[in-house]
């Protein structure tokens, strides 16, 4: 690809941009149309507004130009408010190629370039390029440097690491293939290794994830807006429930909700992960490709990968399944509440798949398999106290309500359930709590309902925060948060015994060695 000259977006965007603008300005257009009808204005005004919007959309194609030149990526946008965004090409950490359904119909893809700063405004979005052009751009950005002679000579550390992890991969069964495959796109010269293929049977794990519940809540919220239209059916249903009586109603509702959520979860899983493929390129990138309608393909520079996160929500854990994400910079909000830098490496699938991929990606099976150092009796006590307290408060409140206002017995019984579950929750939370410090990784694990094991690279840890609440100090424990620039930005080792926490801080940040133990004049009054 020739350097230096500015390139435009794909010319087919002249079709897409006006539609996008029309959707964006739909409220304004609707207002113009409605006021026009009521005031008897000439319909030419409406047409004029539409033409303005269409021209505005088309102007985006004429005003957006980009180039890669002299180690810089430059993006010029804007008609009136002109903007030039320039970023050094060696700050590129991720390249995200997305194709929503309407883009796919036209053979277009949207390219998002994530840089080290990770802030949203610094992301370079090219919406959209022809699919082959996007692939070439991705290869240019991520593999262009690796293709230089200096890097290509000698032993490729990535390949060496991969060979070391080979035996573990083959043990994980047919799902995790280990065969080189030629890329099918225009840059077929770059060989790739397939680390993981989606097995369609894995869809059975979808109902065990929380995505179905979240989708159901979203659908419910959307449906509430149309509540007025469905009053009739609701009344019919309520009448039916009265005829059935309480218990049958509860059973029917629970079954209906479960089936509905399961169906939604399966739909969400298929939409998000269909055709999931994780590949490793010789240039030193990992690439995931996924999606049924909107296809999404993310490239992560492997040298910038700061670790992995193995997630096991309770139901998945009971089914022996897990999912794995990469911890990296340059990705934004892939997961709600997760902050930036979380990209799925393995969808919900049998645990072995995640462990195999984790070992291959980290170059070491140990972080995800190593037994963890437990955090001792004080941490165990805190798990019980923290699980039982809220449940106890709930029971007391329910008891008071029953005594004073006559709460139904059923509700009081329901309020007892959390108290019965609390000890089991606490025991499981303690069983899952722990950390391990390996030569290259800090491994930490916590949680029961959502258990998460994180392996974060020690050379990516750029600071430490030690948190101690009053109760933690009394119990003699502390929470150590390892700060990184990647992923969730901070990974916590929860409730480690205070001496262990202090040692851990010094191990993580050797420069901290001569800041002594915290002072004794701790409790002022």
């Amino acid at each position: 690809m020739s350097e230096g000259e500015f390139r435009r977006l794909d010319v087919r965007m002249l079709l897409v941009h006006p539609v996008q603008e029309a959707v964006r300005f739909f409220p304004a257009l609707a207002a113009v149309f409605i006021t026009g009808r009521t005031s008897g204005r000439s319909p030419w005004w409406d047409l004029g507004a539409l033409v303005v919007v269409v021209l505005l959309g088309m102007s985006r194609w004429f005003t957006t130009r980009y180039r890669i030149s002299g180690g810089q990526i430059e993006l010029r946008t804007g008609l009136l408010n002109r903007k030039l965004l320039a970023t050094p090409a060696d700050r590129v950490r991720t390249v995200d190629v997305t194709a929503p359904i309407w883009h796919r119909l036209l053979g277009l893809t949207r390219v998002e370039i994530g840089t080290a700063s990770g802030t949203h405004s610094d992301r370079i979005v090219l919406d959209a390029l022809a699919a082959p052009v996007a692939e070439a751009l991705r290869a240019e950005l991520l593999h262009g440097r690796a293709a230089r002679p200096a890097d290509a000579s000698g032993v490729d550390p990535v390949a060496a690491r991969h060979d070391a992890a080979g035996p573990d991969l083959t043990e994980t069964g047919a799902d995790v293939a280990d065969r080189p495959e030629r890329a099918t796109d225009s840059v077929a010269a770059i060989p790739e290794t397939v680390l993981l293929h989606l097995d369609p049977k894995w869809v059975r794990y979808a109902p065990l994830t929380t995505s179905g519940l979240l989708t159901a809540l979203a659908v419910w919220g959307f449906a509430l807006q149309f509540l007025g239209d469905v009053i009739g059916p609701i009344e019919a249903a309520v009448n039916q429930f009265e005829a059935w009586g309480l218990w049958i109603t509860v059973v029917v509702l629970v079954v209906a909700a479960t089936v509905g959520i399961a169906l939604l979860a399966v739909t969400a899983y298929v939409l998000a992960y269909w055709g999931f493929r994780l590949t490793r390129h010789v240039g030193g990138t990992l690439q995931t490709t996924r999606g049924l309608l909107t296809t999404r393909s993310t490239s992560i520079e492997e040298a910038r990968l700061r670790g992995v996160e193995l997630s096991q929500p309770l139901l998945l854990r009971l089914a022996g399944a897990a999912h794995l994400s990469a911890i990296t910079t340059g990705l934004h909000h892939a997961e709600p509440g997760g902050g930036g830098g979380v990209a799925p490496l393995v969808p919900p699938a049998p645990q072995q798949a995640s462990l195999g991929v984790g070992a291959a990606v980290l170059g070491d099976p140990e972080p995800l398999a190593v037994p963890l150092q437990p955090h001792g009796p004080a941490a165990r006590r805190r798990r019980y106290v923290r699980a039982v307290w809220p449940a106890l408060v709930l029971v007391v409140v329910a008891g008071l309500l029953e005594w004073r206002v006559g709460l139904p017995r059923v509700l009081f019984g329901a309020a007892l359930l959390p108290l019965l579950a609390a000890p089991f929750l606490a025991a499981d939370r303690y069983a899952g709590l722990g950390h391990a410090l390996l030569a290259r990784y800090l491994v930490t694990q916590e949680g029961s309902v959502y258990r998460r094991r994180v392996a974060v690279a020690r050379d990516g840890i750029i600071g430490v925060v030690v948190r101690e609440s009053y109760f933690q100090r009394r119990a003699g424990v502390a929470t150590v948060v390892a700060a990184t620039a990647a992923g969730r930005q901070g990974y916590a080792v929860l409730d480690a015994p205070a001496p262990v926490a202090d040692t851990l801080v010094v191990d993580l940040i050797p420069q901290a060695s001569h800041f002594g133990r915290r002072s004794d004049c701790d409790e002022g009054s």
Partner: protein
């Protein structure tokens, strides 16, 4: 704290039955807890608060009921800010904020003497001039 008092003010004003005993009890409880808070919290916070800068790392300790210690190696520092609010200017104070590439670990040193804060910023800037990478 002001909002609690304001809420009670509205209650006294809007409730036709006021003043009633319950309102006096609530007011008394508020005054007692707020006084205790004002007496205890600042002293406790001041006793806990520590900071230290060595050629290798910056260290802070803050908080009172919940405490936090933060450590950042000098080589990982990205920016050093000095901030002075209106009250701080009146009292001749300043705050220094040290950030790294992670949003989880900015270090804040509040209530420094202004001259000391300026020299601290200069010292940190000198220490961070050599740039061995920010681990992003």
């Amino acid at each position: 704290m002001m909002s609690i008092l304001a809420a009670q003010g509205i209650w006294w004003w809007r409730d036709p039955a006021s003043p009633q005993p319950l309102q006096w009890w609530v007011l008394a409880a508020t005054v007692v807890t707020e006084t205790a808070y004002l007496v205890v919290m600042p002293q406790w916070r001041y006793r806990v608060h520590r900071w230290e800068v060595t050629p290798e790392a910056v260290y802070t300790q803050t908080g009172w009921f919940n405490q936090e210690r933060r450590i950042a190696p000098i080589v990982r520092i990205q920016t050093v800010d000095l901030a002075r609010g209106p009250v701080a200017q009146l009292l001749g104070l300043a705050s220094v904020r040290v950030t790294t590439a992670s949003s989880a670990g900015p270090l804040r040193i509040h209530g420094l003497d202004h001259a000391l804060a300026v020299s601290l910023v200069e010292q940190l800037t000198e220490l961070t001039v050599s740039d061995p990478g920010d681990a992003t």
